[in-house]
Point group: C2
Chain length 109, copies 2
DNA sequence: CCAAACTACTTGATCAGACGTAGTACGTCA
DNA sequence: TGACGTACTACGTCTGATCAAGTAGTTTGG
């Protein structure tokens, strides 16, 4: 399991990726991340929900209430154009970070 | 310039790498990191010094006063065996993180 | 049929760590 | 002498991840 400290800084990236193709809601996002992470990482609920609220405040996503025929009401989040650009920027920053940190990683013997 | 939020989590790794070959001191470590980062990232003094103190407290490094013929006294830090293992662990975690986050990064069009 | 598990979220408090600001201290060089 | 480079230290602030706990509806197994 990868520690959260290592993912810190990329929480937004993971969440935004889950919204690229279609709007989604908290629980589904967390399940998607869990699945893509193949059991190596699990985002805590509070981390996720605080992230989507932060993203909404910054204009990267908008929220709307899902029409729920059954089950508890869901709050869906949709990526805005600004959010898509934000995601692309994060991806680019990630690539740069990989190159940078890579220079500090040596093979262990 | 890569934002510090993206490096957060790898600060210890960068610092430890600078101590792999020989003991070093704060200022020299920061210069080394700056150089290896090729201008893409600069670790703030406060971040660096709080990191070495944290590492010392956890037993990853030990400190000693350098014999200074000139200039202000320097505090040198030497990697312990535990620190070396800690570094290797961090590197391994880094590789896993790269693989993990990579699955969330899509090519921008 | 009831309890447990799963879905779906919220609130509030706490904590680590990165940062800004500022200051101390010593040396060299113009 | 005063600017600049070296070499730190102290203190306060802020963000963001976490823990703990609770609320609430749905589904499923014994």
């Amino acid at each position: 399991m990868i520690s959260a400290d290592f993912i810190r800084g990329y929480v937004d990236l993971l969440v935004l990726e889950s919204l690229l193709d279609e709007p989604s809601y908290g629980y589904a996002i967390s399940k998607r991340i869990e699945q893509l992470a193949q059991g190596q990482y699990e985002m805590k609920e509070t981390t996720l929900y605080s992230a989507v609220r932060r993203l909404e405040k910054s204009g990267a996503v908008t929220s709307f209430q899902g029409t729920h025929t059954q089950g508890r009401a869901r709050t869906y989040y949709r990526l805005t154009d600004a959010g898509r650009r934000f995601y692309d920027e994060k991806c680019e920053e990630w690539r740069q970070t990989v190159a940078l940190v890579g220079r500090f990683v040596r093979d262990s013997r």
